[in-house]
Subunit: 415 residues, 2 copies
């Protein structure tokens, strides 16, 4: 089964809001085996809506429409649907009583605008909106299903989960699809592609591979299409096992995993603790780590030592090291990692010191030069990087790279 | 002038990523007076891309296409564009040398896949991608402009700002529009709207007001449409002066200002310094501050004190205070702010201590309870907040609120 999504609203086309509804709906539909063929965002305009619905109905078995159902004048979806389905608006007593109930609970008296919300196209099936006043409408025409839902994400999600997905599953036309995404770190997309070329070429025809390059992490998504869900799942897992043998050190997680989340899980299960000493990353490593619920179990704290004085006083970096090698040096990175580990009494200590830019670069140490050190239980590793990007990206890359080095050392020391 | 946006990529249609490019592009185009008629997201499929480009060219003077330009096999945009424009791929030496340069800097040897990136449709104008290896391509056919850009947001934004918008402005078909955005903090949208209602109603008809509610900051964008740019600018500035008299304490900046950036400017001009002690914000305040170039002038450092031990040892919080009032208390917030200010020898010290969630809440101190303190040159202020949201939002709101309290105290102490 194929679906198309149409989102209606001027606010999308002037860039005032990001259309998050489409991505959420697409994911939900894919999970029950419905492929989304196209997403189209159109204005609150009669002609434009009619054209979009007409086009979508040519390709799709299901057309999901969100937006334009509010009580104000600029919302014209309902009148336009009447025109498309050659029907008229009629008062629906059930909807009127929901609207009254909801407004009463909010202490609001019903107005003429609210009463209009109870007017629905005569030929549709009205579906309860458990989260707001705008009704959801289900139409069928020439074997195609059309669903019109409110654009407010919270209401749309509530209706989809509770009403639309169960009804679509009941049609019995949904295919089986199994997706799994492999998260890699450390290989640029082109190098990764060459490294796994033979594996990719040997994938069975019902499994598709997609590269999803991010800023630093490259994701590999495997999608298996067929009828037997368990078989598809087993085949994808088999292929992933084979991939793990080719690039074991570059795979750090799957699907919605994050690097910091993976590290948190490892530290929790090992009963180990972590502290951080940041210069150029300026608190971002601590922020990534503490974004994970439960970080207080393993994360003691971080010292953002922007000035050399604080590097000396709080992290016990030697004045001679700062003078002899400079703040951006292997020596200082090592002393920072060891210093924070000792002061906070943790098993692991991570440090960064570098030039995020745009100023502060020299010929010898250009913007983007970063030293990262990880002090572990048995050894301390330190590496130099040249990111040479803008401030924002240098901070992000340094953060991700430091976390990846930490992850590697934790694995190495606890095999 | 009308534009259409086409975003290409299976990852959008399976809901793996939210298409943020379209909203950003729409906003940028609107700002230079180009209306976006439709946004269409399509698969990495030859037929589908051809159909979408054909449809878009019927309505639009400009068709902006993002995605599908990576070096891997699933990216077929370039070959498809050749088909649409009836041309062939040729090696572009200039692109090849960029690609080589970029890879060399990253210490990577050029591969056949990378070399493919230097193959471009013969009839296009190649536009430099200052941020990556995939070239941007500009086509013209039957008075319509077609631009194909990479889908990686960072690269797409860089190319649009530096190359595409200036070129579109040069076509001379864009209207004169003057935009200025007022950044407010501290009033919910509905309260703000009531407070400035009379001012809004008295705006001249050629100035339009849009509310852009964000998570915390509410932005008011004034857009003046006409022919005389200087006149429009003067009128908008006049209206903003009037607005400043109505809500002086809630306006913190304009356009692309950030709260942390504004604070940095103030501290720099005053010659004052800042340090931070973070518990629930976990490094995010330091991250916001150090995202600004030149932060090292006024920012000494931050202590992320996640454990009580570190609060005592590094920030000199009294053991009695922790025991008697708990870590999330006015007393501890004040001691943390004073402690970091003293240890780092700065003029200002900011602290946060709270329950970000999802765990750790109690009836008395539910998730979202946060104490924030700012120690200034003459006084220390402390305030309690109940954000009661999810972890991510509690961290963000605590960060922004702490920065706003700091901003207020800096202004008060230096009038």
């Amino acid at each position: 089964m194929k679906a198309e999504i149409i989102t209606i609203g001027d606010e999308i086309l002037i860039g005032q809001i990001v259309d998050t509804n489409s991505a959420w709906l697409s994911e939900q539909l894919n999970l029950i085996g419905i492929e989304v063929y196209q997403i189209t965002s159109v204005h609150d305009s009669r002609e434009h809506i009619l054209k979009a619905i007409g086009e979508a109905s040519k390709n799709a078995d299901i057309v999901l429409i969100t937006g334009g159902l509010g009580p104000t004048k600029d919302d014209i979806t309902k009148a336009t649907l009447c025109e498309y389905f050659n029907t008229k608006l009629v008062l629906n007593e059930q909807v009127l009583s929901w609207v009254k109930d909801i407004l009463e609970k909010r202490g609001i008296k019903i107005s003429e605008l609210n009463r209009n919300q109870a007017m629905v196209p005569e030929c549709c099936t009205v579906i309860p909106n458990g989260a707001g006043t705008a009704p959801c409408m289900w139409f069928e025409k020439n074997n195609t299903i059309f669903v019109s839902m409110p654009g407010v994400p919270f209401e749309m999600m509530h209706i989809t989960e509770n009403e639309i997905l169960p009804r679509l599953k009941k049609t019995g036309k949904t295919e089986s699809i199994y997706h799994k995404t492999v998260l890699t770190y450390g290989l640029p997309e082109s190098v990764l592609a060459l490294t796994i070329e033979a594996w990719e070429d040997a994938l069975p025809p019902f499994i598709k591979l997609a590269y999803l390059p991010g800023n630093i992490v490259v994701k590999l998504r495997l999608s298996a299409y067929g009828t037997d869900h368990e078989f598809l799942k087993a085949e994808v897992e088999k292929q992933i096992s084979a991939l793990k043998n080719i690039i074991p050190e570059y795979i750090f997680g799957f699907d919605n995993d994050t690097m910091a989340g993976i590290i948190g899980e490892k530290l929790t299960s090992l009963g180990c603790t972590l502290s951080v000493a940041e210069s150029c990353t300026g608190g971002n490593i601590a922020h990534f780590i503490t974004s994970n619920p439960g970080a207080s179990v393993y994360f003691t704290g971080s010292v953002v030592a922007y000035s050399n004085k604080i590097k000396r006083q709080v992290l016990d970096v030697k004045a001679e090291s700062l003078e002899k090698y400079g703040a951006v040096s292997e020596q200082v990175a090592r002393e920072m990692a060891a210093g924070v580990k000792k002061r906070m009494g943790t098993d692991y200590g991570v440090s960064t010191t570098g030039i995020a830019g745009p100023d502060g670069g020299t010929e010898e140490k250009p913007v983007g030069t970063v030293w990262i050190a990880v002090a572990g239980k048995h050894e301390t590793i330190a590496k130099k990087f040249n990111f040479r990007q803008n401030r924002e990206r240098n901070i992000l890359r340094s953060t991700q790279t430091a976390l990846n080095l930490l992850r590697s050392l934790i694995i190495k020391e606890n095999q």
